[in-house]
Every structure is written in structure tokens, then in C-alpha cells.
């Protein structure tokens, strides 16, 4: 699709793009940080943005297709440095499910033998773009590994899906299902078995339990008729996204469970994290005048830098981050040339010349770092607000820590060094560190709000993501995460879900559920 296919070019017919909104128009994910009639709030002193996607397959329609395994040490964070909490499972427990998820979905990447970026089952990845080759070269000089990305995009035919055709329209929903979304790769094929009924436009309101405490039904709002419906169930698997699953549990009220369902521990809604992110961007003179060519590729970056200071002592922050790269000759969209307009000013042919000279010469490095769960970042039911269906909404508390500021400074310093190694000159960013961190939630990696653990007094779920308290309740999104490594969460969500599904099937066979 071209931007001129719509009269407002993606700006929104009310020009929302000029006033801080409306940038998602061409995305197929039917979502955003603000949805009409579905408010959420941030507590005084907190800032938080919550991306929701109201479409079959949810946020897998929106994510960057970045598909990383967690490392062995990621499951034992407390044992490593005394911060946070260890997972009730190990890398070895999850590794077979990483294999299954990768083999089924199809992932491009290369085997590198790096502990901070465990290898998986990979297809051949696309080659680096020109700006990525420059970043790779600069990283090489600095001793930082910069390797092919691991992306849930297939480059060879796989499970009946044709390979990527590199059109760059990934965010609109892949027309050939060559990049992964759960809708096209899992849900639609599952429906073809004839054993799946999909209920669209359904907003889950509450879980219904019987005298024994088991869930017997899910109550939901049919959004089309605005009427309440119930569907009876033998078991419930919540996969509504971490915060939304927590909301559903917290909205359950009864004399038996006054703090919500499966929440005797008080862990539901707690330990909310998002990736720690900051960016550095610069003009790279070496790219000026380069023959313009098609650099769309698989849309996101083709190479990245995994964490490289794993064994370095005396860092002033715990854990680590990885570096994502963006640049290239992108499809012009609204706002694409704002910066060059501001810089060069003027008008007429000289302005057009400046724009052409500037096109494709900017490279940015974006950090994705590990945030350690604390007691100060969580979500809870807002006592004052309901959504358009009368369902109480969430209020977010989000507090930054000194560790995070230190990590962001480390990112800024190293991103600057890498970019300057390509020949660019990074303009000093004089803002306070707190302003260089991307707002919480804006990386769209919320995790941890229904965490798993062996101890029912500190966790909501057991090591199979089954509720400690409600035998037929499971969670299969990022809610169960005990920590939030710098790796993007989607592959781990898939692997955990696969493991939970096998466990649930076995428990049903045994008559335990």
C-alpha cells in the first residue's frame, strides 16, 4: 500500500500526526496506545503507555518479528547477582519448546555460539543493508559482536507458507504469511481442524467460579450488541497480554477471593516491567550520494548487537542490553523529512535538493535493556474508572531506578562510539538521563504481572503457568515472566505457551483438569 492510497496519507483526516498521535494508520494491528472508550490511567508521578491490539492474533500482528531465545543465566537472575527472583524453570526445561516453536514458525538467523544469544533452528537470513554493514564494521573495530538478527520471517518455503518477498509492508499484516503472526500461522490453521470456534468482538469481563473454586464460565461483552454473554468451560487459558490478563484476574470479586482470582499471594499486577530503551541517531556522511536502491528487506533490522559485556566485572549497573539498528531508504511517510526541513529551512529547489541529499543517510541505534522487577512498578484496578462496557480499568505505577539510568548512560556512550566509528558525528544530547529513557510501556514489552514460581505465597502460577489456586486456570502471555531479560519476549511467550498446552492436555487426559 502506498501512502497516497488514502487522502490523508496516514496523518489521520484530522491531522492527528501533527499533534502527537495517529502514526499507526497503515498498521494492520487495529491497536494503539489510546483506544476510544478503553481508558487506562497512570498514578501521580508515573508515566506509562499501554499498547493494545483488538484483532485476532493480538499483538503478534504488531510486533517486530524479533525472535530471541533467553539465555541460560536469564532464568537464574537472583542466583547471578542477588537481584529479582529466579524462574521455577531452567533453560534446559524450555529449550525443547524453543526448538518446537522455531521449527513450526520458521526463524531466520545464524548459529554464532554466543552465550548471550543462544542459537536455535534457523533459516538463511537476508544479508546486511549498507548502513548495517557500516555499523557492523564499526562494531568490529570496537570488539562488539554484530550478528544477523533472529527474525520470525521465513526466507524459504515453510509449512505451506511461501518465503518473504521483501516488500517492506510487514506492519500491515503479511499478505503471504511469510512473517509470523499467531492469526495466520497458528489460529487460522487451527480453525481448519474444525475443532476451534473463534468468537470475535468479545471483551472478556469476568471469570465465573463454582463452590469448589474452579472456573466454570467466562463472562464477556459482545461488543456488537453490547450484551453480556457467557461461555462455559472446562479450563481457561488467559493470553490477553500481561496487563490485560492481570486486569481480568483483579476484576474478579468474591468473598472467597477479595484481592482477585488466584491472588492470595498478592502477586497479580505486580512486578510489571518493560524493556529499558534509549536511542542515538546520526547522519552518516558515508551514505550521502550512495546509489539509491531498494533496502526494504524484512522490514526490521537484518543485523544486531547482542550483549557483549557478560563477563565484565565492575559495571555500575546489573544485567545488559542488545542494540537494534534502523536506517535505509524508507518509504516516505508523513513526517519523514521534518528534521531536514527544520535544519535546512528555505524552500523551492534548494529544499528539494537538501531532502534528496539527506534521504537514507540517517542511522539510529536503539537499546533494549533488562529492567529488574521492583515493588514500585505495577498495575492495579483504578477505583474511579470503567471502560465503555463498564469494566473497571487499570492504573499503572511505574518508577525508574538508578540502575536503569546507569544502563541508559552506558547505551548512549556506546551507541555514540559505534555511530562515530562509521564516520558520523553525534550531536551531544544534553537532556537529563531520565528524559532519554523511552516512556515505560512504549516498547510494548510488558511482562511479569501474573508471575510463575514454586512458592504460592510469592507467585500466582506454578512452573507450568497453571494457577496455584485454581486448577483449571492457565496464563499463556508474558504475565508469567519472572524476570525480563533484554531479549524481546515473543519467542519465550510462544515456547512457554507450547509447554503449558502440552501440560494442560496431559492433565485433561489424566482427569486432573
Amino acid at each position: 500500500m502506498w501512502p497516497h492510497a488514502v487522502a490523508h496519507r496516514g496523518a489521520g483526516s484530522d491531522g492527528a500526526a501533527y499533534f502527537g498521535g495517529g502514526s499507526n494508520y497503515f498498521g494492520a494491528h487495529a491497536g494503539g496506545y489510546q483506544l476510544p472508550g478503553e481508558p487506562y490511567t497512570a498514578a501521580p508521578g508515573s508515566k506509562f503507555r499501554w499498547f493494545r491490539s483488538r484483532i485476532t492474533g493480538g499483538r503478534t500482528n504488531h510486533f517486530g518479528r524479533i525472535f530471541f531465545r533467553f539465555s541460560d543465566y536469564d532464568f537464574k537472575p537472583y542466583s547471578s547477582d542477588g537481584l529479582g527472583t529466579d524462574w521455577p524453570i531452567t533453560y534446559e526445561d524450555l529449550s525443547p519448546y524453543y526448538d518446537k516453536a522455531e521449527a513450526f514458525i520458521g526463524v531466520a538467523g545464524t548459529r554464532e555460539g554466543l552465550r548471550s544469544a543462544p542459537d536455535g533452528i534457523f533459516q538463511v537470513p537476508p544479508p546486511p543493508r549498507a548502513h548495517e554493514a557500516l555499523v557492523q564494521g564499526s562494531c568490529r573495530n570496537l570488539g562488539i559482536p554484530c550478528i544477523p538478527a533472529r527474525m520470525a520471517v521465513i526466507t524459504k518455503p515453510h509449512n505451506g507458507r511461501p518465503p518473504c518477498h521483501y516488500c517492506g509492508q510487514c506492519s500491515r499484516g503479511c499478505v503471504t504469511a511469510s512473517n509470523y503472526s499467531s492469526s495466520q500461522v497458528q489460529i487460522f490453521p487451527a480453525m481448519e481442524t474444525g475443532r476451534v470456534t473463534l468468537i470475535n468482538d468479545a471483551m472478556a469481563r469476568e471469570l465465573i467460579t463454582d463452590d469448589s473454586g474452579a472456573i466454570t464460565a467466562v463472562s464477556y461483552i459482545d461488543k456488537v450488541t453490547r450484551s453480556e454473554q457467557q461461555i462455559r468451560c472446562r479450563a481457561v487459558v488467559l493470553a490477553a497480554s500481561a496487563a490485560e490478563s492481570a486486569r481480568l484476574l483483579l476484576n474478579y470479586k468474591s468473598s472467597r477471593h477479595e484481592h482477585g482470582l488466584s491472588n492470595s499471594s498478592g502477586a497479580v499486577g505486580r512486578f510489571l516491567t518493560d524493556s529499558i530503551a534509549t536511542s542515538v541517531r546520526t547522519h552518516v556522511p558515508a551514505l550521502e550520494g550512495m546509489p539509491i536502491h531498494n533496502s526494504d528487506g524484512t522490514a526490521a533490522y537484518h543485523v544486531y548487537a547482542p550483549w557483549w559485556e557478560l563477563s565484565k566485572p565492575n559495571k555500575d549497573f546489573p544485567r545488559g542490553y542488545h542494540i537494534e539498528i534502523s536506517g535505509g531508504f524508507n518509504l516516505p511517510r508523513v513526517g519523514a523529512f521534518n528534521a531536514v526541513c527544520r535544519r535546512s529551512q528555505g524552500y523551492g529547489q534548494s529544499l528539494k535538493d537538501a531532502i534528496k541529499k539527506d534521504y537514507g543517510t540517517w542511522v539510529s541505534l536503539n537499546g533494549r535493556g533488562e529492567m529488574i522487577p521492583t515493588d514500585d512498578s505495577f498495575c492495579e484496578i483504578d477505583p474511579d474508572t470503567v471502560d465503555q462496557w463498564g469494566i473497571p480499568t487499570l492504573r499503572f505505577h511505574f518508577t525508574r531506578t538508578e540502575h536503569e539510568f546507569k544502563m541508559v548512560e552506558h547505551m548512549q556512550e556506546h551507541f555514540t562510539a559505534i555511530l562515530e566509528g562509521t564516520g558520523g558525528t553525534v550531536e551531544p544530547d544534553t537532556r537529563p538521563t531520565a528524559e532519554k529513557i523511552t516512556t515505560g510501556g512504549a516498547v510494548t514489552h510488558e511482562t511479569g504481572t501474573v508471575r510463575m514460581g514454586n512458592n504460592p505465597s510469592t507467585s500466582a502460577l506454578n512452573k507450568y503457568c497453571q494457577s496455584h489456586e485454581v486448577r483449571n486456570l492457565f496464563v499463556a502471555d508474558a504475565g508469567p515472566f519472572v524476570s525480563h531479560p533484554e531479549k524481546n519476549p515473543t519467542l519465550t511467550i510462544c515456547a512457554l505457551a507450547w509447554r503449558t498446552a502440552e501440560y494442560l492436555a496431559e492433565e485433561m487426559r489424566k482427569g486432573n483438569v
Binding site: W2, H4, A7, H8, R9, G10, A11, G12, S13, D14, G15, Y18, F19, P126, P127, P128, R129, A130, H131, A133, L134, G137, C164, H165, Y166, C167, G168, Q169, A286, L287, E288, M290, P291, I292, H293, N294, D296, F329, L331, P332, R333, V334, G335, A336, F337, N338, C341, Q345, G346, Y347, G348, Q349, L351, K352, I355, K356, Y359, G421, T422, G423
Partner: protein
């Protein structure tokens, strides 16, 4: 809206032919393209701006980015301004400021001024630093920022602008590869090769 409906009907017509014949014949396609072009050529009716404002804004957009008319810059700004009170206020006020400034300096409305007189005025408001010597230019400079930004957006998101900038993507490829000459160019200039 009339032109849009015509176009939509034509597209439905094309789809109908394609469904029957399997493909559209070249002569038939050429005919349809002519019909579509004719339907689109129906005069655009501005919503947010009166005739004088339209004339002024069209001229301003074309001065900012030669080709902006073809890129639909006026129609873009008109659509957004008709749905946004903030944008409407920026453009109504800015266009009135521009005409008044033109009368003061050249004794003619902007569109009636000579190209040289227009250039003299635009050279004043196209650069932020001019407020240092002439603070009264502030509203004009701020307005020009908006007009430049939105004209650039409209032009470079149009087929004409995308062709002009040289973007070659958004199409199916069998393999992704970077032209060797481009890669060599970047590596050599960066001294990283």
C-alpha cells in the same frame, strides 16, 4: 466526492472484467485508465478554504516544493484543516498574514505580486533567524514552518514525490540483495572497508 464515486465504480467495473476474462485486455485497460483520469480531473471543491485562500495556498505550496500541485498538497492541507480546528486556525491566520505582509511590502495580494516580490517575502519568512532582526516576522515564520512541513509531507507521500526521491521498494522481490556498487561506495567512504 463525485470523482471518488466514479473512480470506485470504474474499479468495480475493472474487477468485473477481470473476473470474466481472467485478465484485462490492453485496449480495455487503456480505456479504463482514460476514464479514471477523466473522473479524477473533475474540479476539486475546497472545504476549509475560500476561493482566495485556495488560490494563495496553492501558489504558496508550489513555491515551497515545485511539483506540490501534482502531489496534491493543497487537497491534503484542505482535508486536514477541514477536520481540525487547530490546523484551520493556523492556515486561515497564516494566509491572511501573508496577504497583509504582501500588501505592506508590494502593494499587492500575495498571488498578485510579481515572482520577485513573492520571493522577497518568502525569503524573509523561510528562515527562523530572521526574527532576530525583525520580530514582527514571527507569525509569518511560524506559519511558513507549518506550510513547509505539510507541503513536504504531501509531496513526498505522493506518487510524484516518491518517484522524485527515487524510492524503489514496496514491491515483491525474489531475493533481497544490496547492489555491490552501493555497498562498496558506503564502505569506501566510511574508511571501514
Amino acid at each position: 466526492m463525485a470523482s471518488l464515486m466514479n473512480r470506485r465504480e470504474l474499479l468495480v467495473h475493472i474487477a468485473g472484467i477481470a473476473a470474466v476474462a481472467g485478465s484485462v485486455g490492453r485496449a480495455e485497460a487503456a480505456h479504463v485508465h482514460r476514464e479514471v483520469a477523466a473522473a479524477q480531473a473533475v474540479a476539486y471543491t475546497a472545504t476549509a478554504f475560500n476561493a482566495r485562500e485556495e488560490q494563495t495556498l496553492r501558489a504558496l505550496c508550489e513555491r515551497i516544493v515545485p511539483g506540490a500541485t501534482q502531489g496534491g498538497a493543497f487537497e491534503y492541507i484542505d482535508l486536514l484543516s477541514s477536520n481540525s480546528e487547530r490546523l484551520a486556525a493556523i492556515y486561515h491566520g497564516g494566509l491572511a498574514w501573508l496577504d497583509r505582509a504582501s500588501v505592506e511590502r508590494a502593494n499587492a495580494l500575495f498571488v498578485d505580486a510579481t515572482p520577485a516580490e513573492q520571493t522577497a517575502l518568502l525569503d524573509l519568512i523561510a528562515f527562523r533567524e530572521n526574527t532576530d532582526s525583525s520580530p514582527d516576522l514571527g507569525p509569518g515564520i511560524r506559519f511558513f514552518d507549518w506550510a513547509r512541513r505539510m507541503t513536504v509531507d504531501a509531496y513526498y507521500t505522493s506518487a510524484a514525490g516518491i518517484g522524485d526521491i527515487g524510492f524503489t521498494g514496496n514491491r515483491a522481490l525474489a531475493e533481497f540483495e544490496v547492489p555491490q556498487e552501493a555497498m562498496d561506495y558506503a564502505l569506501k567512504r566510511s574508511a571501514l572497508s
